[in-house]
């Protein structure tokens, strides 16, 4: 079948490519993807041209995760990425990299009211266990939480409280965590001035935290004015986090992530542990090599290419194909792009991990798609795009963009020939999915087809549900099929 052919093509391609990785990486400024594109062409025939983009996608996905490049080589990622992700179609007129996958029309999506305290309480047994986790997550995904519920519900969403814990278990956990917190807090509190003189890292963390606390959300009531207790809490939690994870310490942007959490928790210890959980998700963004940022930018470009390859090509022609202008969005999860209240909504929706993995990347796609026309019509260049995107801050309608991103997720999930790379990013099984290259790399063709049928049988219920109107139901099934 044509699909089997594709499997073989992609895999053999990856093999030959992996052999040339070494040489490619040795070059200081390799045009990696350019070469990736060129090499297969010279080796193979024109019939590859149609799957080029496919290879592209799977390569780009596997690049940061499976190809562990030494830090020194990764250091100048963007330098690599700028020439690397640039696809100059003029250079190779015969091989246009355009995916012709029809995603169909974007479905209409509506949102519901925020979850009320009553709805939340109804879904809890007498000992305080959450009864139907998937259901409540669906509700939160579709409408968010009413503000009074946030203080409790966020602890579950962020993973501080286990969903199946009883009230008593949670109280015990909190007690334990309180002790732990104050033990760590005491550690930095008890460092004398003399000691700190000999501890440059602690000194640097402290000085940065002091500077940033003074300029984080200062227009918010919780942090405004001088000597606001909110500021002291923000400072103390960030300092304690440095003791919790001294290797990472404090990186600018982290105060943005903590501020709404603290605002909702109104409690130092709870805010700290919720922040710890949030940081578990965001850790890679802040690490030395910013691996999380690189991975996300590449993933985003993979998604955007499927969604709108024309727009992608346009961005590439403007030296913006590596989507650097989305850096701030991704680094601190849109914190600076929406009003404080909207961020509370957006984050709780994202924390449900519905309807698919990496939903925040679909939010990026949704925003970019909304701005595409203006960017292209006005023929914005590198600088204008950066400026335009930066200036969207506080102008995006959160509910509109949530609807749009959800609609995109449905389009992708319903897509019959979703590229492997895309299904991996979103963590969904698509109907005609080919097994991914790393599982199949060293295995025979028989193993591959075996894996394929397994995937297909697993995803059958999803396909069956695709036609139904009840999209939320469908998504929960998709979720349950996704291996943890």
């Amino acid at each position: 079948s044509p699909q089997d052919k594709r499997i073989l093509l992609v895999n053999s391609q990856n093999k030959s490519l992996s052999q040339s990785f070494e040489n490619l990486f040795d070059e200081p400024s390799y045009g990696l993807l350019q070469k990736l594109k060129k090499d297969p062409y010279t080796v193979t025939m024109g019939r590859f041209s149609k799957v080029t983009n496919y290879i592209f996608d799977s390569f780009r996905l596997s690049d940061p995760s499976s190809q562990r490049r030494p830090p020194s080589e990764m250091a100048d990622f963007l330098n690599d990425a700028i020439p690397g992700l640039k696809i100059n179609q003029q250079e190779e007129p015969g091989f246009e990299v355009i995916t012709r996958i029809d995603l169909g029309k974007q479905p209409e999506v509506s949102r519901r009211e925020p979850v009320s305290a009553e709805e939340w309480a109804k879904n809890m047994d007498s000992e305080g266990r959450i009864l139907n986790v998937d259901y409540i997550k669906q509700l939160i995904f579709k409408g968010g939480l009413c503000h009074t519920l946030r203080k409790e519900a966020w602890k579950f969403l962020l993973g501080y409280f286990p969903w199946n814990s009883t009230k008593e278990e949670r109280a015990n956990l909190q007690k334990k965590r309180t002790d732990e917190y104050f033990r760590m807090k005491l550690q930095w509190k008890s460092v004398s001035e003399e000691q700190e003189k000999r501890n440059s890292r602690l000194r640097d963390y402290r000085s940065l935290i002091e500077k940033d606390v003074n300029r984080t959300d200062r227009t918010n009531k919780f942090y405004e004015g001088e000597d606001n207790p909110g500021l002291i809490l923000l400072h103390d939690i960030l300092m304690t986090y440095c003791m919790y994870d001294f290797d990472l310490g404090y990186v600018q942007g982290m105060s943005d992530l903590l501020s709404p959490v603290l605002y909702v928790m109104e409690n130092e210890v709870d805010a700290f542990w919720c922040f710890v959980s949030y940081m578990d998700q965001m850790h890679q963004n802040f690490e030395e090599q910013m691996q999380g940022m690189k991975t996300q930018l590449i993933q985003l470009s993979t998604l955007l290419r499927l969604l709108d390859s024309g727009f992608c090509s346009y961005l590439e022609s403007q030296d913006s194909g590596y989507l650097y202008f989305c850096f701030r969005w991704l680094l601190i999860r849109f914190k600076r792009e929406f009003s404080f209240q909207d961020i509370l909504r957006l984050w709780e929706v994202m924390w449900t991990e519905l309807p698919c993995q990496n939903f925040h990347l679909l939010l990026c796609c949704a925003i970019l798609e909304s701005e595409k026309q203006q960017i292209m019509d006005k023929h914005y260049g590198f600088n204008e795009i950066l400026k335009h995107i930066n200036e969207l801050s506080m102008k995006i309608d959160v509910e509109y963009i949530l609807c749009k991103a959800e609609a995109i997720s449905m389009q992708m999930m319903n897509c019959k020939e979703l590229p492997q790379a895309v299904s991996e990013i979103l963590g969904i099984e698509s109907s005609s999915v080919t097994p991914d290259s790393d599982t199949g790399e060293d295995e025979s063709g028989a193993m591959l087809s075996c894996a394929t049928s397994l995937y297909q049988s697993m995803s059958t219920p999803v396909i069956a549900a695709n036609g139904t109107r009840d999209s939320t139901q469908q998504m929960s099934e998709t979720q349950s099929l996704t291996p943890a």
Binding site: A75, D76, F77, L78, N79, I82, L208, K211, D212, R215, T216, D217, R218, T219, V251, Q252, G253, S255, D256, F286, E288, Q289, M290, Y324, F327, R328, L331, I332, R336, F382, N383, L386, K387, N390
Partner: protein, 210 residues
């Protein structure tokens, strides 16, 4: 219809140039965290001081139009994040910059010591003829000064940089510094043009670098 204000006097708030500038330059702002890069740009843009500006993450971008010596200039100003973690990102933009504003805080010895680091980055990443302005910010905080003006001057002289001290808070020397930078950028542009016109000649060595 452009007001040809003699910006030679470098009066603050030189009139905005209309669209279609005669010259267009990319200028990247670098320097340690919290030295006042964003505040400087805010002052340049609005002529106000905003003490509540958030820390820059990633890269911000603004355009400033100025009329200097009867010519319309547009500056594309890139504002970068100061923390070391983000330097690998910032460095990618040196390549595209015609000018770099290297800022330190006169009340912070540390931020001044970082200048050398940034100079090596510029040398590594930027084009040879890049115009560099060394800018000591926060002259309004004279009582807390840690870096004497002479130190700044000495460093600038050693590396052949343009040098100013300024205050984003008071507005002192903000447009003066930018006007001087524009003039320097213009000189560098003319040099490049002249060089391009004398194509047959072998490129002459003009080097100020150490």
């Amino acid at each position: 219809a452009v007001t040809a204000d003699r910006a030679g006097a470098a009066s603050r708030g030189s009139p905005e140039a209309s669209l279609d500038p005669d010259h267009l330059y990319n200028v990247l702002f670098v320097g340690d965290s919290h030295v006042g890069k964003t505040s400087f740009l805010y002052r340049l843009h609005t002529d106000y001081f905003n003490p509540r500006l958030t820390a820059t993450v990633g890269l911000d971008y603004q355009v400033k139009n100025l009329v200097v010596d009867n010519k319309r200039f547009a500056l594309r100003l890139w504002d970068s994040a100061g923390q070391e973690r983000y330097h690998s990102v910032t460095k990618q933009f040196f390549r595209k910059a015609d000018g770099v504003v290297l800022m330190y805080d006169i009340t912070s010895e540390y931020s001044f010591s970082e200048v050398r680091y940034w100079l090596s980055c510029i040398q590594e990443g930027a084009e040879d003829g890049v115009a560099i302005l060394l800018l000591g910010n926060k002259t309004d905080c004279a009582a807390e000064r840690q870096v004497p003006t002479k130190e700044g001057e000495r460093l600038a002289k050693k590396h052949q940089l343009m040098f100013y001290e300024c205050s984003a808070a008071s507005g002192h020397n903000v447009s003066e510094a930018m006007v001087s930078l524009i003039r320097l950028l213009k000189v560098r542009e003319d040099e490049l043009k002249n060089k391009a016109e004398e194509v047959p000649k072998p490129p002459q060595k003009k080097k100020g670098c150490c």
